[in-house]
Each structure stands twice: as C-alpha cells, then as structure tokens.
C-alpha cells in the first residue's frame, strides 16, 4: 500500500491494513477493505457502519470505475474514510473529491501548487455530488 500523503479528514488516520472484498466478506472483524476496479462496491453496503476505511484502487487514471464505486458508497451513507490509491494524478483529484474521496495514496507525488489551483479554479458545478457543492440550478432558484 502506497503512503497516504493527502488526507482531507479531521479524525485520526486508520492504521489497520485494508483487506480484499473477498477476505472481508469471509470474516467479521475487519474494519478496512480495498476494492479493486471491476469489483462490486454494493457488496459492502450491509457493513458500512462498521467500516472505517474503504480504499478504491485506480489501476490506470483513465479507468473511471472507481468514481461510480465511490458515488455508490457515499449515496448509501458511508461516512468513513474513502481513499483513492494507485494511478492518482493531480488533474483527476477534483472530481475524486466531488464523488466522495477524502484521502489519497498516489503512486507518484502530487504537486501541491497545481493541486491548490485545481481546487480553487472552479467556483461552480452543475451537479450535486458527494461534496458540499450546491448545484448551479439550485443557486439559480435559491
């Protein structure tokens, strides 16, 4: 597991190593799980209240399956740490934040200045997502 060097949570980092979905479903006491691209995040929905960390892997930054996995988990009410790992690049982190990722374990370091600009650049978003952004249609109509 790569080192988590970007974290947008106030709680203490969760130290337990994440297990695979298969291992998680076969035991009862794990609190951290890792989802590979192509695995079904919905399998975790019955157990969200006892999970503290869900890590979603991006084998290639162009593989967008993890965005749907994250959306599904947040829509289902998951509030624990949601970590993106693997081929995570600065140009994708804004959207990853929007679908609910709040920690990142990139394979290669992220340029903090480019990241800061990426977060500041867009003042408005058209859609509601897992972040706090108010969609433009709602701003228009109060």
């Amino acid at each position: 597991m790569a080192e988590t060097n970007l974290r947008f949570r106030d709680d203490e980092p969760h130290e337990e190593p994440a297990v695979s979905i298969e291992a998680f479903l076969g035991q009862t006491n794990a609190t951290a799980v890792r989802i590979e691209a192509g695995e079904d995040a919905r399998l975790l929905l019955p157990y969200l209240d006892r999970l503290a960390l869900i890590e979603i892997d991006f084998p290639r930054f162009r593989d967008g399956r993890g965005y749907s996995s994250a959306s599904i988990l947040r829509e289902a009410g998951y509030t624990g740490e949601l970590r993106a790992s693997g081929d995570v690049l600065v140009d994708q982190i804004l959207f990853m934040r929007r679908v609910g990722f709040d920690s990142f374990a990139p394979e290669t370091p992220i340029d903090p200045h480019a990241l800061e600009r990426a977060f500041e650049r867009f003042g408005y978003f058209y859609q509601a997502a897992a972040d706090q952004a108010v969609p433009v249609w709602k701003l228009r109509h109060g």
Binding site: V99, R121, Y124
Partner: protein, 544 residues
Amino acid sequence: MYQYDKYDQSIVDARVDEFREQTARRISGALTEDQFKPLRLKNGLYLQLHAYMLRVAIPYGTMSGRQMRMLGHIARKYDRGYGHFTTRQNIQYNWIKLEEAPDILADLATVEMHAIQTSGESIRNLSSDQYAGAAADEVCDPRPWAELIRQATTFHPEFSYLPRKFKIAVTAAEEDRAAIRLHDIGLKLVKNDAGELGFEVYIGGGMGRTPFVAPLIRSFLPADNLFSYCAAALRVWNRWARRDNIHKQRIKILVHDLGTEEFTRQVEAEWQEILPLGTDVPRVELDRIAEYFAPPPFESELSDNVDRSDPDFAVWLDQNVAAHKAPGYAIVNISLKPIGGIPGDVSADQIELIADIAEQHSFDELRATHAQNIVLPHVRKDRLYAIWQVLRDAGLAEPNLDLISDIIACPGLDYCSLANARSIPVAQKIATRFADLGRQRELGELKLKISGCINACGHHHAGHIGILGVDRKGTENYQLLLGGSGAEDASLGSITGPGFSEDGVVDAIEKATNVYMRERAEGERFLDTYRRIGMAPFKEAIYG
C-alpha cells in the same frame, strides 16, 4: 437561443484557465504525453497527421450570428482560412498549433462557446434536430432538454473517465433528422395519452466497427426524470463495460452482451437507487431554460406566395427549402456540398456571409446539421429570392439537399491519423460524375455517406449508399454498402461484395443507380426499391 448567465460563463472561463495551465505543464514536460492526451481530448484537441485538430462544440447545432462570426475569426487567425462542419453538428479546424489552443478557447468563451467534451472518453456534445423550433411535425422544441442535459453532463464527476465516448441525441419530431437510434442514447420527446411529455429512450446504438440500431429501452420516461435515467444507464455502463479492448467498450456492446432485457432490468434497478437522491433538475430550471427557446416574434399576415419565375431559384426552392410551422416563413438549407468541393468545408468569408444573413433574415439563428450543412431556421418567404441570390454569388446555393451529391464524408486520410483511405477525393469524384442536376433530381432522395476507416465518422452504415475506405495490402480500397438509413426507418447497410478502387467504386455506384432507375415503382426512393427487391439485382449489375 440559450444565453449564459454568470454561472455558465464562470465555468467555461475556468475551463480555459485550466487548459492553459495544463498546456503549459505539457510544454514544460511536467505532464507526459500519455497524461496530457485525455486532458487535451476533453478540450477537443486531437493530434492528426499534419497538425493538431480542434473540434469546437455547437451544442445541439444551434448558434447565433455572433458565434458563427467567431468561427470565421478562428479560421482566419489560427487556421488556414476555413473550417469543417462535422457529423456531430460541430466544427473542426485542421491546422492548429498546441500553444495557441488555449487562446482559441479564450476567444470562444467570449461568445459563450467552448470545446468541452468534444472528444475523448466523455459525454460528447449533444446533437438534435436541425429544424427544432421550426418544424411543423414536432411535439415541442427539444432544445430546452438538450441544454439541460448539456449542463448536467458537463464535468460530471462520476462520468468523466468513461469506458469510451458517449453520444446523446434528442429529437421531438416524427421524422428523425438526428439519427437518434444510432446514438449511445437516443431520446425522442412524445406525449402520452394523458397529454404529458416524456421520452422514448433508445440505448445502445452506434456505428464504428460493430454497428447497432439502438433498441427501445423505455417507451415512456417522464420528462422530469430525464437526467436520473440517463445517469442510471451511464452508471451501469461505467461499472460493467469491458475495459480490456477499446473496440468493445461502447455501451452498445454491453447492451448486446447482456441482451436488451437484462440491460433494461439493470438500468431500471439502478434508476430506482438514483431516483430518491433527487438529482433530477427541477421543472423550474427547465422552464428558465425554455424561455430562451421561446419562438421568435414571427410576423403575422405574411403571404405564403413565392415568385418562382426564375427557374434556377425555383429549383433551389424546391430542393433546399423546407416547410416552417409559422405561415409566411420557411426553413432554408445552405448546402456545403458544391460539386467537386470538400463536404462540410466552409471558408471564413462564407462563414461571415452566413452570419450576416442569419442576423438580418433568420432572427439571428443558425443550425449546423449532422449532414454537414447549415440551416437558416426562420426565414420570411418574401425574402427567399434575395437570400438565394446572395448565397448563389458566394457559392452556397447548390440545390442538392438529400440528393446523391449531398455527401457526408469524414476528413479521411487527407487529415486523420486513424484513416485507412481518403474520403474527400471519392466524394469529389462521385459528385462530379453525377453533377447533372436533372439526373440527380431524377434519382431523388439518395443519402450517400463515406468513411475513410472502420470507425465510421462518415456514417457509412447509415447511408442509402455507404462507402467504407479500407487499406488492402497498402492500397486504398473501397467497400460499397447498400440499404442503410439514419432516419426514423433506421437500418444498417449491407456490403455488396468485394471492394473497388477509387474509380471503380464510382462506377459501381452508377450501376446501382441504374438498377434503381430500371426497377423502381411509383413513388419509391432508392432505399425503398432496395428494400423491396433486395441485394441480388444490384450485385448482378455491379459484379456481373
């Protein structure tokens, strides 16, 4: 037509800033080409054979005179004085420098235009009926919904790294002028028995190397739930599409692999998960958007009479002018298919001239069509003759709409790095062979479409006559297809047999049209005759 408010403008401006910074990081080497490629593609910037190509979005094909004039400015300042209208109602420029691309996007943003999501694995620019708001046969103007979807799909965080590109079309008329069943999602506005608006939803159509006509997935989707349903389909596809073979990652393959019934079940189940989240844009926002598409202030009491005494004008009138829903008005099609020209190409001077006409005579509105022509949607009939004279003098009055020389062609091997064969010279030779207008009109509606490779940007599968350029042992070879249609009677063409040389395919087409002339029954188009008598007589004439 739609106008940006501060939110829309802010988002487009931010995108320009973002792309300027990304381009600078690429030029400095901070971004590798592999990392930069999807970013530039999401801004419409391709690397082609000779230079970068920039594809500019014309959402659902609608634009103002001011926007059109900007397209001419870009052609002149950053390209070689011309642009090329595409089969997705966009325009592309073929001679772009990477370092100037951010400046072009900044210029576009000053007239509320952009190149967002015009390529790459994203939700592309929406297409629609070029007669929207003017057609007599529509239940209502589909463009408010198109604009709603444009906004909802712009920078959608979940759907920005999709398995492949994703194309949506929206229409509201009985006649399908947007080829909706050859899209990833095709939407047709209808009214149910209670008089409520909703959509017929078709999913899984497309061309490319594995063409499909989209099956009907839902016969009535309440209009207010348009986006949540699209999102459900997108999510099912994003999660479960293959990711191991770029040629098998489109939604049509998933629909085919799962079967229509199972795919529909999964989309409906996903929709039930998404629906309670309340992500659909409320009716009040649709109403806000719809105000921009209110009908222009048509004058009443206008005459429907047109003086047909000039025979050349009368031919153009019959061929290129369509019925308008308002009395005294007409829809004018400007053909970008002069005989021997490059289909869809237009010079900066012509662009500016068309912009002037639109401002003076069409309530400042223009449409780009998927057949690579331009439409003036709202023209007073008593001005048609004067407009025709101006168009004629600019080489823009070819009276060949929907005739054999109104050819759709991709840029082909003259520009495109994916192409196997040239498309443009074939189109030019066919148009020249059939240049005689009397003969073209005798042949009637005949949609001829040429692609320079299997990716089918020239819609060859949907041509009454289709041509596919392939590479056969290092030489260009052209396969001939018959019987396709992108209209409401959508169908895929069938290959006649072995391919031809460039001149050989022109001869083969002529033989096919001779069969039609010999066999046609009263009132039949080429396509109708083909469907009635089948491939055999054509094959015999072509190869016998």
